[in-house]
Amino acid sequence: MSSFRVPGRGRIDHQSPVEFSFDGKKITGVKGDTIASALLANGIHLMGRSFKYHRPRGPVSAGSEEPNALMGTRRGPGRFEPNTRATVQEIWHGLEATSQNRYPSLEFDIGAVNDRAYMLFSAGFYYKTFMWPKSFWDKVYEPFIRAAAGLGVSPTETDPDHYASRYLHTDVLVIGAGPAGLASALASARAGLRVTLVDENTEAGGTLLSEPQAVIDGSQAWDWVEKAVAELKSLGARVMTRTTAIGYYHQNMVALCEKLTDHLPAPAANMPRERMWRVRAGQVILAQGALEKPLVFDGNDRPGVMLAGSAQTYLNRYGVRVGNSAVIVTSHDSAWYAAFDLADAGTKIQAIVDTRANPDSTLLEGAKSRSIRVLAGYTATRTEGRLRVKSVRVNPVSNGKVGAPETLTCDCLLMSGGWTPSLHLFSHTKGSLAWDDEKQTFLPDRKTEDCEIAGAGRGLWGIGAAINDGAEMGALVARHLGRDAVAATYDVASDRPGTGISHKELPTDLNPGKARAFVDYQNDVTAKDLRLAVREGMHSIEHVKRYTTNGMATDQGKMSNINGLNIAADALGKPQPKVGLTTFRPPYTPTTFGAFVGYHKGDHFDVTRKTPIDSWAEENGAVFEPVSMWRRAWYFPKDGEDMDAAVSRECRATRASLGMFDASTLGKIEVVGPDAVEFMNRMYTNPWTKLAPGRTRYGLLLGDDGFIRDDGVIGRLSDDRFHVTTTTGGAARVLNMMEDYLQTEWPDLDVWLTSTTEQWATIALNGPNARKLLEPLVEGLDISADAFPHMSIAECKVAGLPARLFRVSFTGELGFEVNVPAAHGRELWEILWEAGQQYDICPYGTETMHVLRAEKGYIIVGQDTDGTVTPYDAGISWAIGKSKPDFVGKRGLERPDLVAKGRKQLVGLLSRDGKTKLEEGAQIVLDPNQPIPMKMVGHVTSSYHSDAAGRPIAFGLVEGGHDKMGDTIYIPMPEGVIEAEVTGTVFYDPEGARLKL
């Protein structure tokens, strides 16, 4: 065990050694250590290099605000994470940690040359340096910036972990399980409310874990925490540790990220790594405490320079003395107690350097009793030491004048510039902050959500103040929620409340232009950079932030914001509240993409809807394509066929004999009621009154703007019942639109709409042998050509199954669509498949369906139309019931632009050479020799090789296309210009003879 571990001290298990590696070296810590505490116990402060200057850095904190000690961690194959904060990552046997931003090694790093050239890298240097010449951008500047940029190394392997998410509803959500949070949660839970208490640390207790000397109602602090947590659990409260509240959204929705496995050597296989909680709380209590501020002076970033409160945490929670010989530099009382605790644990305190001239007398007595030298009214002006601080230069200050320096040797320097309430989450709510002159910080002011702030978060220092405030707030929110609740009062002994003052940079006798006095450690922003930004005209704090990148690192300005503000305000000659803070944004701490993704990866990436026949298609080698949320069989390749070959064969087989197609994805809506026909008349362009039961009609749906929205074949089953079909992608949209008109425009109509898309499996049979296959299977219906003509519908039985049978065709061949209850879809498909063998029945997919319909000139809404196409443009104005008084889109069709000349109209396109297949989406021009940019007059909407036509065919939307029949238009492509003739859209059986078989 190293000499820095204090036997018996802390909340770690001294008896359980844990081995891990750091940059390949084996390090031994103990159970309960973080990477940082274990390294510090081994005397290692140097843990990383800074981002811009590659300066050696060690941990400055002991928590999630850590800007310096960022590492790559590997938890096994594929499990690499950059920028893990060593101060929060728990160690376990076998963990591999590596330092970042260094080459070839942490101790000797070539990039550190940047540090010598720091004068070149001042604020805004990217903007200034890479201005010209323009030609340097691609070849010189960008590669340089890309090589230099980035924090750590991105993982390259697919993340093998899985992630989870949950919704949670709670009456009271308490964020932060320190004294204020625990007392709040207790008060609310005792009032009988559903309470959730979360904390980002491994255990509840917060600052109480670092202050074991405190005594609460007669119990030692840690004992009190244990009792409080036990009571909360017994009251049914949910206590969640390793859980960070990352964002606070509208109406008390708080996102929590719970880390479940990063601390475990061998997590269970089904255990998610992280779980995102979306919490809806009746009331929120923010009890996040305060973060300690560094002091800003030359060399305040050397390894060994650390926040005093963090040193206290390392000692009291982890049993680690951060050095043998410490100098304390502070402007706040709290650092004195860190000094006392360390002195009592055996660290030599060289001096307490306080910037205040007259520290509190009890503090002076505490120092005196421990024989600690006190330098009051002093400043720190420089540190020395390459990979670890070895001395600090301090000077007396009197009447604003910096006196003669003295150098104090040390191996660690513990600083405190006071404390900043942690109000990030409060800021997410757009709650306003007010500057408190006495405390020299921002405190919460006007709230926008049902929340309260308790304890140090609203500027109350000391355990007694925080815990009693927490109890008050817990009772208050319980009363807000209608419960009788009275706050308990807590008696706290051995408390250490304190006061302090706030600084800009510490005064110095050295050239401030050469000082490396850091404000934002992670982004290497110095006090000088901030002043330069103001000098160069950045007068808004938002501009200063962006010009210097102060507060823009992954720690989101947790340490740097107030120091940055103090310096910027001083440079601007304005008081702090006039300068203001930049906005804190979620997430509170860096959060993995996995946590946001949750279950939505792999098989769960997105909803994939599958038809009842999907499994047959899969078993029979179908290639699938996504169509809206469905996956549909695209084509069924045989014997190594490519798509073109398979589609040609499927087309040929269907036209020659018989094809079968799974059309189950078609949207279906049952329209029922005495006013069903009136409703249909108003929704669709077509006239429905005279459509007899048993007959069907092609229905066209417009928006009130006159543009085509959807289409489908619609059957009338009885006077009061229609079976409406929609496009696959339009099903939900069309029903929504129908409901909208019905509920809000025509609530008087007695008609109701029910989605039956999934009630029915739909199998389309097409080809000259379709009837021959079907006839023997149909009961209760004569399907001969005369008895059941094209565009008929009937209820009957097919293969013993209740069915709705359509005679309809989307291919131009004799066609039927058999609808049976979806549970029997695959059964019927297999029956038809077996029975169809005598006709060489061919299952075909969506691509063949597209080709066959295009050969017949049938449009596909959404492919041949794009939301700006009218029935006239599409050449289907015959579907409009012109004599109807109104329908959706009727008035819209008369709009001036819709009746104007020169609209894009749907036409057929045939390449002049008879061989070239046009590319869907390709632009069309009238003169290929015009200068670029050419005037584009349309585009290709559909294009296929047609087996029936023996050549490629296409549709396009072309300006004035209907008047251009026979004209040549041009499609410029990278390989050359394609000439095509404008034609009609029907390429096969224009008389429709095959439909009538």
């Binding site: 509208h250 109406q251 909208d740 509920q743 609530p747 008084p885 008035r891 819209g892 709009r895 001036p896």
Partner: protein
């Protein structure tokens, strides 16, 4: 994610059950019985208030009771001042603002 009170279900429920449906109280002109000018029809189709502040708008409880309903929501704060049934009269903004104080 907002919480929305459905005036038909009489419950305050998560936004994920709802879909937004545009500005409220845009009546469809009666083109069947009256001559509607191009300008009137344009206004019906396209012209919207796009207010910064309290906005009369429609929602549908799509994954719930299926009803369209009306709401007044402040587009700055995302707060609902009220939700009400389609058949209910348009509430006066001044009354709503008074009540929300």
């Amino acid at each position: 994610m907002l919480l929305i009170r459905c005036p038909y279900c009489q419950q305050t429920l998560p936004e994920l059950e709802f879909t937004y449906a545009g500005q409220a109280h845009v009546a469809r002109p009666d083109a069947a019985n009256k001559q509607i000018s191009d300008e009137e029809w344009r206004d019906f189709l396209f012209i919207r208030t796009n207010v910064k502040g309290p906005h009369y708008e429609r929602w549908r409880h799509a994954h719930g009771c299926g009803r369209f309903f009306n709401a007044v929501r402040d587009t700055v704060s995302d707060r609902f001042l009220i939700t009400y049934k389609v058949e209910d009269p348009r509430p006066e903004l001044s009354d709503l603002l008074e009540k929300s104080e």
